[in-house]
């Protein structure tokens, strides 16, 4: 009997458990959910297109890579121990954007690129990401890029798979074998290369005039964010639903000079925020790579275990040796999974101080990095109003 190793065997097991439990008058369990294999459209091997010459000034768009999101599970979907892995994904949402940002910087195709906690009206292009799946073997991201006028540049899923050989020996670092961060290439670098190349392709299709207009829209959008009463009328929506500049203040308008001053201060702030995200990634990179290495080891181990189980033939023997072997295989697979969960919890423990540090960075501001960012934007708005004598009762409180 070719026992188990396929989904029908799992169903047989479940059915028998259900029968036994019915006899024991316990309520029936939910059926075992066999994950449906989704075909992944892998990006393959991708070389990053790097700029040979400095692109035109209008092409040097300022990009914000927003901290990623992740699909939240429904309350009923959680199983015991799931929270540990949920916490890891939550952490990945904060530092995977940094890898994309580094790739965009390496391409030399863009202006300033920063990781930002939220969408930012002072930037030309915002990249949003959702982590669909992330482990040592597979990374699947939903990426959406939208410019300040509302034009969608990208909205698609990118997936890549790694192999154990992409994790060099230095990922199992010890005191004698330290992690080589400089020469380490992320096993999912192809995804980031593909996204960067796709963005360049979209930009090339737009033309110089659209890019020049985009820079103006961004300027007026930021001015409108600072002082909606003064500037909101200068931007309108065209027939395509895109924002365009309707009226432009004169070049020597003192208000615009103040807006530019505020934008400069704001960019100094988001540069600092971006540096914190970079420091966070540098702090945790060795542990994160090690974690991914453990993750791919575990996936490989499970695949071997499944193959072994499919080869096992328990049907012909019911002796003690056969019974104890069945029990031991179950026991060790469970212990192995528990150890993996412990490693995941250990990874979270190890990263906790780095995240605490990130959230306590900006002096004078409180809360998470997202809250500090919002607080800062509020401060700039009030400052702008003060400088322009637009003090309202609310803003002075």
């Amino acid at each position: 009997m070719n026992y188990l190793g396929n989904t029908s065997s799992i169903r047989v097991l479940t059915a028998l458990v259900v029968l036994l439990l019915t006899a024991c008058s316990l309520p029936l369990p939910e059926p075992v959910l066999v994950p449906v294999e989704r075909p992944l459209d892998l990006v393959g091997d991708v070389n990053l297109i790097q700029a040979i010459q400095v692109p035109s000034e209008n092409s040097l768009l300022e990009i914000g890579v927003q901290v990623f999101g992740t699909a939240q599970k429904e309350a009923g979907e959680y199983e015991l121990g799931d929270w540990v892995f949920d916490e890891i994904i939550q952490k990945e949402t904060q530092f995977l954007p940094h890898l994309l940002k580094n790739t965009l910087v390496d391409s030399g195709q863009w202006g300033a690129i920063r990781v930002v906690p939220e969408s930012d009206p002072s930037l030309d292009l915002i990249i949003e990401g959702q982590i669909i799946q992330s482990d040592g073997e597979t990374l699947e991201l939903q990426i959406r890029a939208i410019d300040s006028s509302g034009r969608e540049w990208l909205n698609q899923i990118y997936a890549d798979q790694s192999i154990p050989e992409e994790y060099p020996e230095s990922t199992r670092f010890t005191l004698d074998n330290t992690f080589d961060a400089i020469n380490f290439v992320d096993p999912f670098q192809d995804i980031y290369n593909r996204i960067a190349n796709d963005l360049v392709a979209v930009r090339a299709s737009l033309g110089e005039q659209i890019l020049a207009d985009l820079n103006l829209v961004t300027d007026m959008l930021y001015a409108s964010d600072l002082s909606p009463d003064t500037f909101s009328g200068s931007i309108i929506e065209n027939d395509d639903g895109l924002l365009i500049v309707d009226t432009l203040p004169s070049l020597d308008d003192p208000m615009m000079a103040r807006v530019a001053d505020m934008k400069y201060r704001h960019h100094l702030f988001i540069d600092t925020v971006d540096e914190y995200y970079q420091t966070l990634y540098e702090d945790i990179q060795p542990a994160y790579v090690l974690w991914r290495r453990y993750s791919i080891d575990q996936i490989t181990e499970i695949e071997m275990s499944q193959q072994e189980a499919s080869r096992s033939d328990y049907g012909g023997s019911s002796g003690f040796l056969s019974l104890s072997q069945r029990y031991d295989r179950f026991k060790w697979s469970k212990i192995f999974e528990r150890e993996f969960n412990d490693l995941a919890a250990g990874f979270n423990n190890e990263l906790a101080p780095a995240f605490l540090e990130l959230n306590s960075q900006v002096h004078g501001l409180t809360g998470t990095m997202e809250q500090q960012y919002r607080e800062w934007r509020g401060i700039l708005r009030r400052l702008f109003e003060l400088e322009n004598g637009e003090i309202t009762t609310d803003s002075t409180e």
Partner: protein, 261 residues
């Protein structure tokens, strides 16, 4: 006049003290509500309250079944049952179990038959060798650690929970009244059931392990455990990924230890 002044002062004093007591009451009420909102954990009434299984438990060998004695007793009962059935041929039998005895090597081992009772008994003994159990119980979850075995972990909810499933077996757990039940379904219809019961004074823990094979009669083994005070750990340890266990002396804040690395 003095009396009048005194009265006024007295009345004012009364008014002030009344005002003060109102303010004090208000402050107390506010502080109590603030305290109750901030400091006290909210009790989730949807979660059932379970008996407390937590603590360190050591096996009471005197009160626990000896597997060989239990095997002999089970065999004797089966033989008597078989004899009764033979003497009254009309009576129905739950299943056709051949007469067996220890060392009977002639048991049929076809696919249709389960393991013999001796092998089930030996398996029961094999998985019950641990003499110490450590149980940690929270408002949401109970975790049972046995040396050399995988931990048994279950939530406290009413519903049945699947705690582990792979190609080597499926484990579910649930509560029957105040008994905690784990069932492990292994390949070839081998089923292991652990049923934990704690005495009302929480000093004695009973563990009934039943082993079923292909729907046949189970072999049952009861073990009793007494609570004992395990020595307190001298160190607080926290698991990390790259540095393994990071420990500090009990009473030290571990976050400062992690920061130091």
């Amino acid at each position: 006049m003095l009396i009048k002044v005194e009265n006024v002062v007295h009345e004012r004093g009364l008014g002030l003290s009344l005002l003060a007591s109102i303010i004090a009451t208000l402050c107390l009420t506010l502080s109590i509500s603030a305290f109750s909102q901030d400091s006290l954990p909210q009790l989730d009434l949807d979660l059932p309250l379970r008996l407390d299984f937590s603590g360190s438990w050591e096996k009471d060998f005197r009160r626990s079944d000896n597997w060989e004695d239990e095997l002999s007793r089970t065999l004797r009962i089966r033989q008597e049952s078989t004899a009764r059935q033979q003497s009254s041929p009309g009576s129905t039998r739950r299943r056709s179990t051949p007469p067996i005895s220890i060392g009977n090597v002639n048991l049929p081992r076809s696919r249709g038959r389960g393991a013999n009772i001796v092998d089930l008994a030996r398996l029961a003994e094999y998985i019950s060798r641990h003499s110490i159990i450590d149980i940690v119980q929270t408002r949401d979850e109970i975790s049972i650690e046995r040396s050399g075995e995988a931990a048994l972990i279950c939530g406290v909810e009413y519903k049945l929970q699947q705690t582990f499933a792979n190609e080597h077996g499926v484990e579910v757990c649930g509560w029957e009244g105040q008994q905690l039940v784990f069932q492990i379904m292994l390949p070839d219809d081998l089923i292991i059931m652990h049923r934990f019961t704690v005495s009302s004074n929480q000093l004695v823990l009973n563990l009934l392990t039943s082993i079923y094979s292909k729907g046949g009669e189970p072999f049952n083994l009861i073990q009793a455990f007494n609570k004992y005070e395990a020595p307190r750990d001298e160190f607080n340890c926290i698991q990390t990924l790259s540095r393994g266990q990071v420990c500090s002396q009990a009473g030290t804040d571990l976050s400062t230890v992690l920061d130091d690395f």
